[in-house]
């Protein structure tokens, strides 16, 4: 063995350093004190309040609402749906055609509110004013807007609605209107151009509730909503013909939505700027589409997060809201809820998003059997991170609970949140921490 050999051997040995995967073993683990703690902190106060937005745009919402129903929390809700109709695209009408009838077809959306088991009445009125936007931008019509219509109805129908079984409601309109429309088509056919004047001539219809109604019905506002003119022509044999006056434009379709809240807690709600705390409203917070009642959430003790002294990683924040228990529920609970950030004036600032930039919607846990353990969970981690950034929490900032997507404008869905202080009722802000050394 010479020095070269030794040198070579050493070099080899230095490279030779083997190690195996360790056995994972739980031995003696009870003698180890973990320096890491995962903890759920749910003691943050969540204040709930409600306010009413003065008016919201209900034009272009896609649904025509008509009828009224009594809600145990929101009073009597009443809707009148407005829409415009257009000339048929096919107008080759024979001068010898004879009027049979004229009807309006309203396709059910499947949604209804209140009690549909009793006889309901819907009246179709001719609108006498131009249905048009009243705001500065001339782009929206609001839930508070209304247009004068003929006191004499064009037609009315009393029936037992089955919005889930039948696909549409058909109401026969006056033959007088039918004759008008037929003559107009004949004039048009003779070369008199009436296309541009039709909306002037027939400004639209208002679908109005009967005074004894107990249900509010939702119809789809699209091209399946139409007036159909039925005629016949006798040549060698009788030929039946029909002309469709389709739904014209979403811009001029809207719902007037009002509610009689006298005697109800929500009577106190008047303006968007003034939210009223749940404490002053029987420990409840209110959210109703159509009438524009919104629930606001505030986290007054949020800045306490900065007082946590241990090293910590706040890895998740979730908000848990419980709807109050109603048996039976007059209106189904909303499946989709979302949150908007807000300022001290209750403005809708922006919808909250997750880290991917996708809007956050609640996960809905529905206890359909016992109707007790039903709640909504929002993952607000990303929102909280941005709220806490800068090591300062603006106490004026809060969250608004909203329906998902267009529900707020085209329905009268609603939910009442429990704001009692009991641990099984109250809203929770659950903060999930990892504390470590």
């Amino acid at each position: 063995m010479n020095s070269k050999t030794i040198l070579g051997l050493l070099g080899l040995l230095m490279l030779m350093s083997c190690e195996e995967d360790h056995l994972t073993i739980s031995v003696g683990d009870n003698f180890i004190k973990s320096e890491t703690t995962v903890a759920l902190v749910d003691s943050m106060t969540v204040n709930m309040s409600s306010f009413k937005i003065d008016s919201i745009a209900t034009s272009s919402c896609g649904y025509l609402l008509a009828g009224k129903y009594s809600d145990p929390f929101f009073g009597e809700v009443r809707c009148t749906g407005y829409c415009q109709l257009d000339l048929p695209s096919y107008t080759s009408i024979d001068d010898d055609e004879v009027l049979d009838s004229i009807c309006i077809e309203l396709p059910y959306s499947g949604t209804s509110y209140g009690d549909t088991l009793t006889l309901q009445t819907i009246k179709i009125h001719r609108v006498l004013e131009d249905i048009e936007a009243t705001d500065i931008d001339a782009s929206y019509i609001y839930n508070t807007s209304s247009f004068k219509y003929d006191t004499q109805a064009l037609g009315e129908k009393s029936w037992n609605p089955r919005p889930n079984q039948n696909d549409k409601l058909e109401v026969r309109l006056s033959d007088e209107l039918g004759a008008d429309f037929m003559n107009m088509l004949k004039d048009n056919n003779d070369g008199i151009d009436i296309t541009s004047d039709f909306v002037d001539y027939f400004k639209g219809v208002a679908v109005v509730s009967g005074s004894e109604n107990t249900a509010l019905l939702s119809f789809v506002a699209d091209t399946s909503l139409k007036i159909v003119l039925y005629t016949h022509l006798i040549e060698e044999e009788k030929i039946e013909k029909s002309y469709i006056f389709p739904y014209a434009s979403s811009l001029e379709q809207f719902n007037n939505i009002s509610s009689d809240v006298s005697g109800f807690s929500i009577e106190a709600l008047s303006t968007q700027r003034e939210n009223i705390s749940s404490g002053a409203m029987a420990d409840m917070a209110y959210l109703q589409a159509g009438t524009a009642i919104v629930t606001r959430l505030d986290f007054p003790s949020l800045s306490r997060i900065f007082e946590v002294e241990n090293k910590n990683y706040l890895y998740k924040a979730e908000l848990v809201l419980r709807p109050i228990t109603e048996i039976p529920r007059p209106v189904p609970l909303p499946e989709s809820l979302t949150l908007y950030t807000t300022d001290k004036y209750n403005n809708f600032v922006s919808q909250i998003t997750d880290t991917n930039g996708d809007a956050v919607y609640a996960t809905f846990y529905h206890d359909e059997f016992f109707n007790e353990d039903t709640y909504y969970v929002f993952d607000i981690t990303n929102y909280l991170y941005s709220e806490l950034s800068g090591n300062y929490v603006d106490p004026n900032n809060g969250l608004l609970v909203m329906f998902g997507s267009s529900e707020f404008y085209g329905t009268v869905n609603r939910v009442v949140f429990d704001a009692r202080s009991g641990s099984s009722y109250r809203p929770y802000l659950n903060l999930y921490y990892i504390f470590y050394n």
Binding site: M1, S3, K4, I6, L7, L10, G11, L13, M14, M16, S17, C18, E19, E20, H22, L23, T24, I25, S26, V27, G28, D29, N30, F31, I32, K33, S34, E35, T36, T37, V38, A39, L40, V41, D42, K311, Y313, Y315, K316, Y432, I434, Y436, N437
Partner: protein, 417 residues
């Protein structure tokens, strides 16, 4: 005729290589017990003493180095350079009352150089392991504030190495004094992995201590002769102290992104007062050594453990036999040294009523190499540590040690006239 010329430059290359390698001294520990304290404290001793079970506080360095007592270097054979390096392999099986696991690891163990300045003053420097960590432990934890169970997996690695510089002086015929100054370095790493559940995210926390601390220990040896035997007594002392380290904590999310980290200087890693005493008897055909080491661990606390430590006691006995006079013409085995050692330790770890004890038995050989001064030391140690009762673990191990003790002569170019 052999003529001494100059020390081969390769010798220095070797030294550089040795110390570069020494920075990455391997870790042979595979024991859940190494989660406690600064890790598993490594036994001292190079080839010769390892073969005697690690005994030799009273023994002098001769044509080999004895790092059990810094005073021993004074006994080095005159005007020599001695290089020691060793490799260790470990075959182990870990047994609990429920399961068992076995395996093998191996690494470079130590590197050292000893030299004599004058007939009465000698020194040594090198890199030796101080402690070593290797474990993977699962622990069931509960989320606070909600009834929910999750598992934390702790994986430990790393260890503390000791870069030391010792000097020893002989005062008169009987007494030697020595002192060692060490720089403790290396990193102690613990990964804590939270296993994801519906509530707990997959998180990894990495806690690392980058050791950077000085450490001092002292030794005394006293020897006297009778007609037939040399007797010696040894005493070593290391003052307990807090070791300085840079502690860093990093938190990684499930996709491995660093979310938070913090680092600061700390001295929570403490080592105790260590007192060692030894008796040595040397005759023509045998050397006997008996050591007792006391480590004053009680009162030292580490954050990871629930219970405190207890004082540890270690008894080591070793014997080296040279039954035949060494001659070049002998059959090879007659020129070998034969060594035996026994070791009993009640360690600083006590869980409930169970103290973790370590018992081992060693068999070793010293084989002289071509020049008659350099040696190859082989030893096998079989031992048991811990217990299977009280949900604890017993570790059975066989250590294979290969030590090289290279004397300066080995690097001298020979020229035969």
């Amino acid at each position: 005729m052999i003529k001494q010329t100059k020390i081969n430059t390769r010798y220095f290359i070797l030294c550089v290589l040795l110390f570069a390698g020494g920075i990455t001294l391997g870790q042979n520990t595979v024991s859940p017990y190494s989660i406690f304290g600064p890790g598993e404290i490594q036994s001292k001793g190079f080839g010769t003493n390892t073969g005697m079970g690690g005994a030799g506080i009273a023994m002098e360095s001769g044509n080999y180095l004895n790092n059990l007592n810094p005073a021993s270097y004074a006994g080095m054979d005159s005007l020599r350079l001695i290089v020691e390096f060793g490799l260790q392999g470990k075959s182990y099986s870990l047994n609990t009352s429920r399961n068992s696991h076995s395996g093998f690891t191996g690494n470079l163990a130590y590197l050292a150089i000893g030299f004599k300045y004058t007939p009465w003053l000698a020194g040594s420097f090198g890199v030796v392991p101080f402690s070593s960590i290797g474990y993977s432990i699962d622990r069931v934890n509960y989320v606070e504030g909600i009834y929910h169970q999750y598992t934390s997996n702790y994986v430990g690695s790393g260890g503390i190495s000791q870069l030391y510089y010792s000097n020893a002086a002989r005062l008169g015929k009987h007494l030697s004094l020595g002192a060692t100054v060490s720089y403790m370095f290396g990193s102690l790493i613990q990964e804590e992995n939270l296993v994801a559940t519906t509530i707990v995210p997959s998180i990894m926390l990495v806690r690392t201590d980058y050791m950077r601390s000085m450490y001092v220990d002292f030794g005394v040896q006293y020897k006297f002769k009778t007609d037939k035997r040399d007797y010696s007594l040894g005493l070593t002392f290391a003052l307990g102290q807090s070791l300085n380290s840079r502690h860093s904590v990093s938190l990684y999310n499930s996709s491995g992104t660093l979310m938070q980290s913090d680092d600061y200087n700390t001295d929570y890693l403490a080592v105790p007062n260590i007192i060692g005493t030894g008796l040595g008897i040397k005759a023509d055909k045998y050397t006997f050594a008996l050591d007792y080491t006391f480590q004053n661990w009680s009162g030292i606390r580490y954050p990871i453990q629930n219970d405190g430590f207890v004082d540890s006691h270690k008894f080591t006995m070793g014997i080296e036999l040279n039954p035949w006079e060494k001659r070049a013409v002998n059959v090879f085995y007659k020129n070998w040294s034969y060594r035996f050692g026994m070791n009993y330790e009640s360690s600083y770890l006590t869980f409930g009523n169970s103290n973790i004890k370590d018992r081992s038995f060693t068999l070793g050989f010293g084989i002289h190499l071509y020049d008659g001064l350099s040696k190859l030391d082989l030893s096998v140690t079989g031992g048991m540590k811990g217990t299977q009762s009280n949900n604890l673990l017993q570790e059975k191990y066989i250590l294979f040690n290969v030590g090289f003790s290279l004397n300066e002569m080995a690097f001298i170019k020979r020229k035969i006239n």
